[in-house]
Amino acid sequence: MTFQGVDYYNVDSMLSDHERAVRDMVRRWVDDEVLPIIKENYLAGTFPRQLIPRMGQLGFFGANLPAEYGCAALDNLSYGLIMQELERGDSGIRSFASVQGALVMYPIYAFGSEDQKRHWLPRMASGEVVGCFGLTEPDYGSDPGGMITTAREDGDSWVLNGSKMWITNGSTASVAIIWAKTGDLGDAKSIRGFVVPTDIPGFTAREQGGKLSLRLSDTSELVLQEVRVPKSAMLPGSSGLRSPIMCLNQARYGIAWGAVGAAVACFDEAVSYAKNRVMFNRPIGGFQLQQSRLADMLTEITKAQLLCLQLGRLKDAGRMTSGQVSLAKRNNVSTAAECARETRRLLGANGILAEYQAMRHLANLESVYTYEGTHDVHTLVLGQEITGLDAFRG
């Protein structure tokens, strides 16, 4: 009884056998183990933790990293397909995997010492260790270079002070990647990444309550007060704001794919509802207004799918630029949010229920719209790519 997906332009024919096999496996897993429980967890605002070891066992964490560190060693296109299918389930499930893989395992892989990689990556790939990524601060969101979290050398330790806000997996994690300035507050080049065990004295995490979006995801505030870690906790290859941005690029790539999954889930729901709901003695799908909604959704989804496919091929060829990632994240998330909103409306009163998916996806996608660089920020990134003029600093 697996989900059949939406594939108007036969994009499937451009996937290899193993890419399809990856997609089909995750799709089936989402049908079997995610969708049946998602509503309860969403309403309760709790993450389905029992899925963490399962996701690890199946290889979802850091799936595009090498096998020698316990990862699945997939190409980036397959990795994208995993994110797409997970987000068809719920953006919170995809967010969990994105943070674990692209924001915690990736920096350890890209900037870590061999010891750090051997110690952390296999445990994180299996899901035994959960990680979080602390960049955003209460007063520094879109402008992370302004951060005021500091790391000071003291003998053979680093001492960290500061607070991080909106941190996905923050209270669940047993390890955090904390970005902090090692020099003057005005010196963004002095930013370094630190691998910090969360049970260390001076480290506290508190879940941020009252979320109306991404409800099943753990979003927490972290406070670091005189947190003392050994010198070896620094990621030796990290250097300046560039490093966390490189992580974000990995995650944004996955988000561009994930958004397609959420959009497709909504479209599928919209089509089946439109064909079955009878009003004025005919299925509402027979009315031109609803057909127009569906035609727009299918068109935008098809465009987003093709964008992802080519983005994935570019990434696998080592030719993907950060501007291209910005374009895809910006377009696909806003497309998905539109599809969710239109589906919600097409469903009438039923559309506001958790029984259906559209409003959950709609609410979730508002977070996705904001995190990993807001829609506006990506507009300015593209603006700069086009004109060569930096809108941020004037």
């Binding site: 697996t2 193993h18 399809r20 096999a21 496996m25 290889g59 096998a67 699945a72 995993i82």
Partner: protein, 249 residues
């Protein structure tokens, strides 16, 4: 222990079937194909036997070129190698298929051969048992439990109102029923490793046997239902409709 599993590529149950222009075959464009669900139970059971007793699992598939993808699925689950008996089409006649499979399996010196109890495309339910007969091996069909100790095995099958327990010696052929196990998902690492596992392709030349497809038609569309009422008050009307309209009670 050397274990053989015979698998088939079939259309997904969820897929929308269209009849081809010749009126005798399905139009495969846009149809999603999967590993036959009953064969999944067979593959899973074979993998469990291997985990318990050691050895190797070989999957054998009679099918077209495209069946390689189906074999890779079984390899991704953990089977060690695959053989594709490549034909231009899979005949409907189970005896033709059984003969081709038996000829291949005969050379393999298998201790145990597993099938799904049926393939969900033609619901024939015949090939596994025919292969056993052709090879002169004991066979137990539609099993829901299997235990193997050295050269003997015990299998359980559901019969009308009871459970039948069958003891038999190896080598043997069994066919898997739903409930035998919970098939594993092919893990991502397994999917990548499957690409490098041996898959041998052998051309086979088959006649169509004694069965011919004359015509394929879709089942008639189901008429919309009718709500006869609500709650206990509706029971008499419902009984009446079941008795006189539907004529099922």
């Amino acid at each position: 222990m050397k274990i053989g599993v015979c698998i088939k590529r079939v259309p997904d149950t969820e897929t929308r079937i269209k009849i081809g222009a010749d009126g005798k075959s399905i139009d495969e464009s846009g149809v999603k194909f999967v590993l036959n669900p009953f064969d999944e139970y067979a593959v899973e059971e074979a993998l469990k036997l291997k985990e318990q007793a050691g050895g190797e699992v070989v999957v054998v598939c009679l099918g077209t070129e495209a069946s390689q993808e189906t074999i890779r699925t079984a390899l991704a689950m953990g089977a060690d190698s695959g053989v594709l008996l490549k034909a231009s089409a899979v005949p409907l006649d189970p005896l033709v298929v059984a003969r081709a499979l038996a000829a291949e399996l005969e050379q393999g010196a298998f201790d145990m051969i597993l099938f799904g109890k049926l393939a969900i495309d033609d619901y024939g339910q015949a090939v596994g048992t025919m292969v056993a007969e052709l090879l002169g091996l004991p066979s137990v069909s539609a099993i829901t439990r299997l235990e193997v100790t050295d050269n003997t095995a015990t299998a359980q099958r559901e019969v009308e109102g009871a459970l039948e327990v069958v003891e038999f010696s190896l080598p043997a052929v069994v066919t898997a029923e739903k409930g035998l196990n919970e098939p594993r998902y092919p893990a991502l690492r397994g999917i990548m490793l499957a690409k490098k596992k041996p898959l041998e392709i052998k051309e086979v030349d088959l006649d169509q046997g004694g069965m011919e497809v004359v015509e394929l038609t879709l089942p008639p569309e189901r008429k919309a239902g009718r709500i006869v009422g609500e709650g206990p008050d509706a029971v008499p009307a419902l009984v009446d409709a079941l008795r006189n309209e539907a004529k099922v009670v």
